[in-house]
C-alpha cells in the first residue's frame, strides 16, 4: 500500500471513529443518565460497562481494516470476579481487551494514562480504574477486597508498559498478588497482530489480522506456600511465551 493511500486511509479512519464516538456517547448517555438518577447500578459499574461497550464498538467498527480471531472464550470461568491479564504492545490494546466478554472489568494501570489521555481519563476516573502509583500497595489491596465483594473483575497488563519490540517484558506483581490474596481465578489472554495494526510509537493504522487467545485459567489454590503469587506469575509468563511462539 502506497504512503498516500495509507495517509488517506488513516484520515478517513480517524474521522469515522470520531463520528462513531460522538454518536455512541450521545446514545449511551441517554441510558446512563437515567440509570444514575434512578440508582439502578453504582456509577463506577455503569461506566465500566460503558467503556467495555465502547471498546467493543470501536474494534468491531474497524472490521474493514481488521480481521479478528478470538479463540478460547469457552475457557473463561463462569464465576466472577476474575483477574484477566493481557500482554501489551500498543496504545490501542485496551480497546481489544473489550473483546473478552467480561463487561464489569476494572483496569489497573500505572500512572501515565490518567495524566496523558485527556478526555479519556474522565471515563477512566468515572469507571474507578486504579492507578497503582497513586494508591500504593496497602490502599490497593484494601480497595480491591471491597471490589471483589461486589464481583468486579480486574484487568491488568502485567508488563506495566508497552513492549517496543514485541518481546514479553518483566511481569509485575499486582495481578498475581490480587488473585492470590482474594483466591480468584486468573485468566491470561494473549494478543498478537495489534502491533501490526498500530505500531507502538505512532498512531498510524495498517490493515491487519489480530488474534486474541484466551489461555487456560490459573487457580491460586493450585499454588502453595508464601511465594505462591510469585510462582503464579512465573507460570503465567511461561504460558504467554508458549502461546506467543505458537501464534507468531
Amino acid at each position: 500500500m502506497s504512503n498516500s493511500v495509507l495517509i488517506c486511509l488513516n484520515i478517513f479512519y480517524y474521522l469515522y471513529i470520531l463520528v462513531i464516538t460522538i454518536v455512541f456517547e450521545i446514545l449511551s448517555h441517554l441510558v446512563i443518565i437515567p440509570c444514575i438518577i434512578l440508582r439502578i447500578r453504582k456509577i463506577d459499574d455503569i461506566y465500566r460497562i460503558h467503556n467495555w461497550a465502547y471498546g467493543q464498538l470501536i474494534v468491531r467498527a474497524s472490521r474493514p481494516l481488521l480481521k479478528m480471531k478470538v479463540e478460547g472464550i469457552e475457557r473463561l470461568p463462569d464465576t466472577r470476579p476474575l483477574v484477566v491479564v493481557f500482554n501489551h504492545n500498543t496504545y490501542v490494546d485496551i480497546f481489544f481487551t473489550a473483546l473478552i466478554p467480561v463487561p464489569n472489568m476494572l483496569i489497573v494501570v500505572k500512572g501515565w494514562p490518567f495524566r496523558v489521555l485527556l478526555g479519556i481519563n474522565f471515563f477512566m476516573r468515572m469507571a474507578g480504574y486504579m492507578d497503582i502509583e497513586e494508591l500504593g500497595a496497602e490502599e490497593f489491596i484494601k480497595r480491591s477486597k471491597e471490589l471483589v465483594k461486589r464481583k468486579v473483575s480486574f484487568q491488568f497488563f502485567p508488563e506495566g508498559h508497552r513492549s517496543h519490540d514485541g518481546s514479553l517484558g518483566r511481569f509485575k506483581s499486582g495481578a498475581f498478588l490480587l488473585a492470590a490474596e482474594n483466591n480468584i481465578p486468573l485468566v491470561p489472554v494473549c494478543m498478537t497482530g495489534i502491533e501490526k495494526f498500530q505500531t507502538s510509537t505512532f498512531p498510524f493504522i495498517h490493515p491487519s489480522t489480530v488474534t486474541l487467545r484466551v489461555l487456560s485459567p490459573v487457580f491460586p489454590e493450585n499454588f502453595k506456600g508464601e511465594l505462591r503469587s510469585l510462582e503464579m506469575r512465573k507460570h503465567v509468563k511461561n504460558m504467554f511465551m508458549e502461546a506467543m511462539n505458537e501464534l507468531r
Binding site: 509485575k172 511465594l227 510469585l230
Partner: protein, 89 residues
C-alpha cells in the same frame, strides 16, 4: 552471614523471581527507577526475602524501614539488621 553472602542471596531472589539481569544488581540500583519496581513488587520482594533469609517481618516494627528502602544498599542494610535481630533473640 557476610555482606557478600547477603548480596548473593538477594541477587538470587531478584534473578529467580523478578527477572532482573545480574548486571543491574549493584548497590546503588534504585528499586523504582532502575529495577522498575512498583509498591506491589516491593510487597512480593519482601516476602521472597523473608523466605530466603528465614526472618519474619513484623509489620509494626519494619513497615517504616521497608517504605524507606530506595536502593539495593538500603535492602542489604535492612536484611543485615533483621539478621542481627534474629541472632540476638
Amino acid at each position: 552471614m557476610t555482606d557478600n553472602e547477603i548480596r548473593d542471596k538477594v541477587k538470587n531472589v531478584l534473578v529467580e523471581w523478578f527477572e532482573v539481569g545480574p548486571e543491574q544488581i549493584i548497590p546503588g540500583a534504585e528499586l523504582r527507577k532502575d529495577l522498575d519496581f512498583d509498591s506491589l513488587d516491593t510487597v512480593d520482594f519482601v516476602v521472597a526475602l523473608e523466605k530466603e533469609f528465614k526472618f519474619k517481618i513484623i509489620r509494626s516494627e519494619d513497615e517504616s524501614a521497608i517504605r524507606a528502602m530506595r536502593t539495593l544498599s538500603d535492602v542489604f542494610a535492612f536484611i543485615k539488621e533483621k539478621l542481627k535481630q534474629k541472632a540476638d533473640s
